[in-house]
């Protein structure tokens, strides 16, 4: 054989394997409204940047007639490439090959690229589209999952891990995405659950569709398993590219700097916020009045929207925002919002992203359901996350900052580096209405007209305590600022915090209230 014929033979072999499960299966995939694994990788990565490994890997199953079956690439594609010129490691399960089922070699390919990602300190992107464990491979397939979960955990906080759910991801398989930093879902395509509708129906008699049980919207809105929700795969890929631009390659790096931009001249910041703390506004307008180009990549937009988390840039540098949203549930802290914010704070801390906290919240959500759902331990997560975080931490109190929530929202007491307050800020143990009822209980009860007396006392309390100056007098707030100076003050605070270094007691790890 000549070199030429060897090359032609290689090309032929490659071509055959690259067809995955073959034309019919590819057609079926398209009918489901899904791209193939290869198309997905190519759409997501920079043009011509993808390099594939382990193309010729074959499965090792010997039972149930598997020995005579050929599964191209064993149902998964792995490789490296770039997104916006930044390197990434990627794997994509190929549903056209045996339903993307996970066998031993399939798992080995995934763990190989995971090991690469961790060793090379580059982000890992996993595209999940799999019917689950390959039953014919029995315990070997379980071993495969376990090896993946272990590496997810090992890599957690070292490299960014992104999971993209573009098909079914059921049973044990869901735990790999759950261990990663960001989970992307797409309407009508993503399906995640531990036990499927048929099992639920047979043992519990509850009838539910796959979409209602574990569709994209459910995970974006109800469970909080998903961080980004898109209508189409194309939109999902744009979201991933945007996210990649905000985060560093590993925990040893800072996120890349971009050219500084001024915020768009939209609404004047003073005109956004009503002075009456009981009237809502959209906190995102404040964030956008602060960030470069008014850009803001919101994370978990649809889950617990009473708190907002996400990334923006200030003077070209990535900043993580945590902000109460008065527009939803008055911006209260509750189980879900605490959980959501705490994880994001820990993400930012792990990846050297400074945190800016914008505060406007009346306290914790009252209710038996909240207490019984464990608002104590969930709420504690936020205290833990802020206290433990050593990245620069800046807080701006816009209006209400009452009670335990004030402490939780990156107060001085949890070691905020800078705390600013607008003149509209109210830092108090509780709101004037509640406080007056307790402090002046006797006067109100004994008054000729109790309601009149109540209003009078509320007013009295308001004038004395519903302002930033009591806290400022104690040094709990560093500066009362004019709203228009908010961006400049945060920027300065971040600039002087650039070389922040704090020393925490030496420990193996803490024990956060998971």
């Amino acid at each position: 054989m000549s070199l030429r014929s060897n090359i032609l033979d290689l090309r032929k072999r490659k071509k055959e394997v690259q067809m995955g499960g073959g034309e019919k299966a590819i057609e079926k995939q398209a009918k489901m409204g899904k791209l193939t694994a290869r198309e997905r990788i190519i759409s997501l990565l920079d043009k011509n940047s993808f390099h594939e490994y382990d193309l010729f890997v074959e499965h090792s199953a010997k039972d149930f007639g598997m020995e005579s079956k050929k599964l191209h690439g064993d149902g998964v594609i792995i490789g490296t490439g770039t997104i916006k010129s930044k390197p990434v490691c990627i794997f994509a399960q190929d549903f056209t090959v045996a339903g993307g089922s996970l066998g031993l070699m399939h798992a080995r390919k995934i763990t190989k690229i995971m090991d690469h990602a961790l060793k090379m300190r580059v982000p890992l992107i996993g595209i999940n589209d799999s019917g689950g464990a390959r039953i014919q491979e029995g315990v070997n397939s379980l071993a495969g999952y376990g090896e993946i979960f272990f590496r997810n955990t090992l890599a957690s906080g070292v490299i960014p891990q992104i999971s993209v759910i573009l098909g079914p991801c059921a049973g044990g398989a869901v735990y790999s995405p759950a261990l990663t930093d960001f989970v992307f879902v797409v309407e009508n395509i993503s399906k995640m659950f531990i036990t499927g509708p048929s099992v639920i129906k047979s043992v519990l008699g509850e009838e539910i569709s796959m979409e209602e049980l574990g569709g994209a919207k459910v995970h974006a809105e109800i469970t909080g398993n998903a961080h980004f929700y898109a209508q189409t795969e194309a939109e999902c890929f744009e979201q991933i590219k945007s996210l990649i631009s905000y985060i560093p390659r590993s925990n040893a790096k800072k996120a890349l700097s971009y050219p500084a931009k001024a915020p768009l001249k939209g609404k004047k910041v003073e005109s956004i916020v009503p002075v009456d703390p009981r009237i809502p506004y959209d906190m995102r307008d404040i964030i956008k009045s602060i960030t470069d180009g008014s850009d803001f990549l919101e994370v978990m937009e649809h889950f617990a929207p009473n708190i907002i988390i996400g990334f923006g840039r200030m003077d070209g540098e990535t900043v993580g925002f945590v902000a109460n949203q008065p527009m939803v549930l008055a911006g209260v802290l509750d189980c879900d919002s605490s959980d959501k914010a705490a994880r994001f704070i820990r993400y930012c801390d792990a990846f050297n992203i400074p945190i800016v906290t914008l505060e406007d919240m009346p306290g914790y959500l009252p209710g038996v359901d909240q207490e019984h759902a464990g608002v104590i331990r969930h709420g504690a997560k936020i205290l833990y996350a802020y206290s433990e975080a050593t990245v620069p931490k800046v807080t701006v109190i816009i209006r209400k900052a009452y009670g335990g929530g004030y402490i939780a929202m990156n107060s001085r007491h949890l070691r905020a580096d800078f705390v600013f307050a607008w003149p509209t800020a109210e830092i108090a143990v509780m709101g004037p209405e509640g406080a007056a009822n307790i402090v002046f209980r006797k006067e109100i009860a004994e008054a000729e007209n109790p309601e009149e007396m109540r209003q009078e006392k509320i007013q009295e309390y308001k004038e004395k305590f519903a302002n930033p100056y009591v806290a400022a007098a104690q040094g709990y707030i560093d500066e009362v600022i004019e709203p228009k100076d908010t961006r400049a003050r945060i920027l300065h605070a971040l600039q002087v915090s650039e070389n922040k270094s704090v020393f925490l007691p030496n420990k193996k790890h803490g024990i956060p209230p998971f």
Binding site: G205, E206, P326, A330, P366, Y402, G403
Partner: protein, 107 residues
């Protein structure tokens, strides 16, 4: 302006806030004090057999009925000495979770 219409009230520590609700908040379940004279199903399943009749007097621990769920036959027992007031299920009936099965009263 349409946004204004969607606003609802939320009371936190005496103050009434104008705000929107989340779907989860709207669907939250309200707490009811448990009434130990009402025996509810704790799992969806099928009533396999009923061993008691109304007005029958029983002592604590006696089996009232069998509820099969997840391939397990669960014996539902009398929680205290008392009497059967009313039986709300039939043999072979498939019932959901938190379904009222039997009403009883104390001795």
């Amino acid at each position: 302006m349409s946004e204004k219409k969607e606003l609802k009230e939320l009371v936190v520590q005496g103050a009434v806030y104008q705000t929107k609700y989340t779907k989860k908040f709207e669907q939250r379940t309200f707490w009811e004090a448990p009434d130990d004279r009402l025996i509810y199903s704790f799992i969806p399943g099928t009533i396999i057999d009923i061993y008691v009749k109304p007005k029958q007097k029983l002592i604590e621990g006696e089996v009232l009925l069998l509820l099969e769920a997840m391939k397990m036959q669960n014996q539902v027992r009398m929680p205290f000495d008392g009497e059967i007031v009313k039986i709300h299920v039939k043999k072979d009936e498939v019932i959901p979770n938190r379904h009222l099965m039997v009403e009883i009263k104390r001795k």
